[in-house]
Amino acid sequence: MLKWVSELKNNKAYSLRAGNKITAFVTGIVIALSGWVVPVFAAENPEKVYTGIENAAAVLNNIDYTDVKNSNTWAKEAIYETGALGLFKGYGNKQFGRSALLSKEEALALAYRMAGREAEAQKAAEEIDNQRRREDKKKNAVSMWADGYLKLAADDGLISEEDLEDAMNPNQASLGPGAFKRTAPAQRQELAYWFAKTLELEPEYSQERIFNSYMDWKDADPAKIPYIEAILRNGIMNGDDKGYFRPVDAVTREQAAQVIKNAKNIVLPLFGYEKNLGVIEDIKISKDYSSGEPVAIKSLDIRNNSGYLHRINVEYTDSSGDPGRNEQSGKAHNIREKELVVYRNGVVGKSGLLKKGDRIEYITAADNTVRYVKVLSNRNEIKYIAANIIDIDPDNLTMKITEYFSMDYPDLSEAGNSIRFNDESKRFEGAYKYSKGISVTINGRKSGMDKVYPGMDVLLTVDANGTIIALENINIGVSDEESRIVSGIVEDNNPNLGYITLYSKDGAGTRPGAEQNDLLRTYNYFNINRLEVYRNHEIADIDEIEAGDTVFIKLDEDSNVISISAMPNYTAKYALVISKRPSALILQYDDGTQQIIDVDENVLVVRNKKLTNYDSIKDGDRVKVLINETPNFTRIKQITIESGDHYISNIYKGKVSYIDNASDTLVLINAEVFERGQWRRTDHKGATSIKLSNKYNIYFDDKEIKKDVINKYMSDSEAYVAVERGYGGEERAVVISFRKEGDKEVIYDDVISGAEYGKGSVKLSRNYNTITFGQGSIIIKNGRLVTPNSISNDDSVYVVANRDNSSGNFVAGIIEVKESTNTGAVAIYRGRISSIDENKGFTVESFSQLSGFIWVYSNTAKTFNINYGTRILGNDGLISHRDFTPYGEESFIGSVVYIVADGIDAMVISTAPYGIYNAVGDLYEINGGTVGEDGTVIVQPNELKLRNAMIFDTSQYSWASSNDMTVNLLNNTIILKNNRMIKASDLKKGDRLRIVKSESTATGDAYIVIVEN
């Protein structure tokens, strides 16, 4: 059957190659050919033919230990097997000596024998013996041989020279307690060390993890630990089921037999043995009379685990004939017997124990004889299934599993070709009963069902009734340690109570209710202080792992968590801040959904790639939030505020002519711009086109309307249009709010006294008016479009309201909250420089300070700091700090300068002349500047025209009106707005300016310009 499979596979590969080029006709032939292959199998020749051994009866007699046969020892199999293979023999009197302790010299001898170095030891023993004086020569051969092992052990470093000296001391009784007594029991750690040495196992120096997981690892000799680790890794010795290795305990002989059996895979090749696995497909008996005597030949056809046919021929005298007898004893002849030593379920015997369908392990020698056969199970009685546990129900003794594959041998590494997948594409899921007395083996140790958890990969032994009778954890393609790694998404992490729960592997387990417990996976923290925790590949605290994280968890052998590596799962979402509360944000996502999210001090707030604080978030800001969204909660991790100043740049009013659908443009006639509480005609006459933003809203009569309606019904109606600055400086309309024809527009410059969002109205403190607002009201705060909720009492506002013709109510068209000006004080001084500390500061010998409209003189020196922000203005413009020197031709010592200072930090130093006159006025024209085609300033303006100007007469302490005023700007004119130095090009028409100049006339140079809006 299996042969047929491989044939088919080959043919299929061929058909695929051929199919591309030729036609499917080929495929048809292949199918037919495959069909023909089947009968070929009947004539299959065995790949190998083995025979039994002639001394099978003698071997069976040797291992017929009375203290084993009648006992119930778990080591039976090991004792029989090692005995049959001649690896570890009994005392020779049908006694094995199960509980006798292995002495040190025996243990060393065993270690060398396992490595096939018996002859070497004998030679060494003879050499020692030859050096001895005749009278000292050992009488006892066994002791003499032991000398050889000891010598070899000392040479190889298994024992020290001192140990050897002790061991060779003829008077062993005189040795002290710490000495190496050769007949003293060997310790487990010694046995491990010696076996590891002679079997040449690679010591594990770096990571002694397995051994470290035993509680008593500290009891071991540190020098031996790397070797014990190697022994553990190879599964040659194991700890007990309580988590102890017991390194200093003695070893019984039956334990030693088991150790040897565990080392079988290493030892057998050293003895020239080969281990094979197979299933008995057929047993045929034929008779041979060729030698004149009736001989029965039993042929066992075995399908080995590589899929090949092996045959074992057994010969025995046919009992129906006359075997002949020994003429002296009368015993029947045993001639020509070639039998097998077979172990089946605790009993040893000959080939008669074998049945068709038996899965067997057969150990063969180089001479093609079979030295030992062990029946593992019968195919018809026992199934082995490799599976992943989905779920365990201890109450009903059932287990849900995903079946990976089934196979013939209970050892994954040897299953070979016997692995049968259910289906290549789909894994089979099923439920099995398990026996109450199920044998559980976890990492080679006997264990219980409490150590079996969902997610484990296991090898199940299923009996004929379909009940799981044994379970062993396995690693499918991963190292032993890695097999104890589970991964998933955290449902709950509770370090206080010491557990972490993951959602089930398939992501179910969010539905509240009873079945939840079956779906979720919970693991305990054994010791929270010794837990290794990583998050985002960095060492973290266990508290930092939160629900929703992807985690990998490493478990120890008792399924406790020893290490966690987590990765946060945050989703980036774009949203608009509808309202900011002290500890929560109301966000509106792009899909229109809104959410209130708590914000605590751990949330990172970022703007322009720089960490900032929560205060810098304003209502109406666009943000990108990183959120952790789980079925139980939504937690915000980071808020990035949109940069690029995409704010409301202007509000226009005008008649909407139409909306151009093709270009998404709004055409506005007679556009006016809202500036400082007034509508001002724009520089652009007639029709202005404004692009619509990607997202815009149109309102009329407090309702949102569709774009199409405008061209149909709203042509030439007046609307307020809020625009924001887009890429490339282009303005884009975001809100178009139509006015009702006939309503009267009033503008208030006022302060909010009563904001009542519930009623949809605000009260103004000076005008005592109640202004209602609605969807169509354009509300601007901090340059952002906001909802009415963002208006607070005491906000200074401009309100553009419309008095409704029918109701008489005032409805807000625009509410613009004025930006609070920087109230930090800067002072303006004038003084003569007496000393300069280059790039650091300077001192004036005395100074005047501008106080109100007059200069107040102080006859004291004052020192100012220069920092990187300090601007020094000379007659030609900016002067480098490095040229502001107290020496040389251009020394500034003795110069009289203006100093604008914040405390003692100089912001601006200017060499402009002394001005004693103060004037105020409204800017209406800015001249002399040039602007490039993209709006960049090429030349700064040099002339300002003011109206409503007045000049303060310092002698009269009174204002004199001069109506219009024209002033020149110099290279060293200081222009201040909100306590900051600005450029002349930053001045705006309509700005209220204060000017410090030299004359009381309506013309002349301005030395200091202060914007006083």
């Binding site: 594409s425 991964s487 449902e491 398939d506 992501g507 539905r511 940069s643 413009g877």
Partner: protein, 510 residues
């Protein structure tokens, strides 16, 4: 054990079915590797509007003009030549530059392509600002990117580094300016649009003799740019009543190219010498080519007047995603898997090839009309003679569908979970899945079948699906044709507009 499929042999005539409008194509490198942005290329043209910001004089100067791009392909190499001709009228400044790059493409077994771009010819560049000439004396350049194809979207990411040295003035000791830039490039390409975002960080260092003294200064600049092609669908109601068809859709293709810069440079004193005062200047520029509009055909859907999904259905008929005249469309009918796949292969078309690539070797991509090809069906229950065969075969080949056990079940109704799985395969965003066992926030999360969990999680994350008002997804419900129309229409909107945001606003503004 897997049994052999019974294969059928048949002949079909292959011909092109899809109507493809002219596509403006923003391919990789269409804005070059400098600090500028182009209007995007148009097939058949090789010269495009272009703007660039230049920092070498110590302040940002925006140059405007054109770039001429020539691409040619030879085996695994693409040679791209850029010729820039730019000026700034305000400053009477000019910039001319000629660069030639070789891009070597090595395709991996997984279909991913690694590209490496190097300079292939001696570059030339001359900039004149305020009567000062800057001449490029050295240009070191390296760039690479990885292109990962998914069934309907091709994603890529790349890195870029260059260093330019200019000589100031004509004499060799007049001074030098060096500009060193490192950049990251991200983008995607698909039928409904594409976006490329670049972030470039530069350091500018100058050494120049001024007034007999060596003036040394340094400044930094950050440039973010994005080139996008996106689709929008606008519905036009007819103005006349007496017209033989209802209102219909217009498909508009936008080509949007923006660049934002922010630089921190020293201020210069009145003598033109640098000072210690650093000034940050930022700005942005935008280049758009005029939108390309196509009026879509109108289906006969009078029996659906007022139906919830009327407009979605109209759009899908208009785009040819639903075929026929629409008069027999029943929105209440469950959609079969075959019908759905037939629609999705038209909604999630293959990534178009760069039309500007002049191929030296004509490959066998052009099929002669009437050529014969033997075709076998990937599924035992889909006959090659089936009406849906071509679409199903196409979907299978592109990895949109797998079927189960060699069967596709074409006549079964498609479920929500199945549809979402196909959508996510299409966009190939499986990478967003945080790991086995991730849960969605739908209240009926546990009802999502195992095979669809990954897809549903991702679809929710990218905003492709939403639960109902009560937070339920009802993953196992069958989809009516009406609902399918809404889902596919949402998918197209996502492909045309939604995916863009993460590349443009996400990279430029945050």
């Amino acid at each position: 054990m897997k049994r052999m499929k019974k294969n059928t042999v048949c002949f079909i005539v292959a011909f092109c079915l899809l109507f493809i409008p002219t596509v403006t194509y923003a391919g990789y490198g269409d804005s070059g590797y400098e600090s500028g942005v182009s209007s995007g290329t148009v097939p058949g043209k090789d010269t495009f509007e272009y703007q660039e910001v230049c920092f070498i004089s110590g302040e940002p100067i925006v140059f405007k003009g054109t770039v001429k791009i020539k691409k040619s392909m030879r085996r695994d190499e693409i040679i791209t030549t850029y010729t820039y001709n730019l000026k700034n009228v305000d400053r009477s400044a000019t910039l001319t530059r000629s660069l030639s790059f070789t891009t070597e493409i090595s395709e991996g077994e997984n279909g991913q392509a690694a590209e490496k771009t190097v300079l292939s010819k001696q570059p030339t560049e001359t900039i004149k600002i305020d009567n000062t000439t800057y001449r490029l004396t050295n240009y070191d350049f390296t760039s690479s990117r990885i292109v990962v194809p998914r069934p309907a979207v091709e994603y890529y990411a790349g890195n870029l580094w260059w260093k330019k040295t200019y000589q100031i003035g004509t004499s060799s000791n007049g001074g030098t300016v060096t500009v060193e830039a490192t950049g990251e490039i991200y983008g995607y390409n698909q039928y409904w649009g594409n976006t490329e975002a670049t972030i470039l960080n530069c350091i500018i260092q100058s050494e120049e003799m001024k007034n007999g003294k060596l003036d040394k200064w340094g400044g930094t600049a950050k440039i973010s740019r994005s080139a996008t092609i996106s689709q929008q669908f606008k519905y036009y109601e007819n103005i006349p009543d007496q017209i033989g068809f209802s209102g219909g859709y217009e498909q508009t293709q936008y080509n949007n190219n923006i660049l934002e810069y922010s630089c921190t440079m020293p201020e210069f004193d009145s003598k033109g010498v640098s000072t210690d005062i650093m000034k940050t200047v930022s700005g942005s520029m935008k280049l758009e080519s005029s939108p390309d509009k196509v009026r879509l055909p109108v289906a006969d859907l009078r029996h659906l007047r007022g139906h919830w999904a009327e407009n979605d259905i109209k759009l899908l008929y208009g785009l040819g995603i639903f075929s026929g005249d629409g008069s027999d469309f029943n929105p209440q009918q469950y959609m079969t898997r075959a019908d759905f796949v037939s629609a999705i292969v038209k909604a999630a078309r293959e990534v178009p090839e760069d039309p500007n690539l002049v191929k030296r070797t004509t490959s066998g991509t052009v099929r002669k009309k009437g050529s014969e090809e033997q075709v076998t069906s990937p599924f035992t229950d889909v006959s090659t003679k089936s009406l849906y065969f071509e679409d199903i075969n196409n979907a299978f080949k592109r990895g949109l569908i797998n079927g189960e056990g060699g069967k596709f079940r074409p006549n079964d109704s498609i479920s929500v979970a199945e549809a979402i799985t196909i959508f996510i395969r299409t966009v190939g965003l499986e990478n967003l899945y945080p790991g086995p066992g991730a849960v969605t926030t739908f209240r009926d999360n546990d009802d999502i079948p195992g095979y669809a969990r990954e897809a549903v999680y991702i679809a929710q994350k990218i905003g492709l699906i939403q639960g109902d008002e009560r937070g339920y997804l009802k993953p196992n419900e069958k989809i009516t044709k009406g609902r399918a129309a809404a889902l596919i229409s949402r998918f197209i909107t996502y492909m045309g507009e939604g995916i863009k945001k993460d590349y443009r606003e996400g990279i430029l503004n945050y």
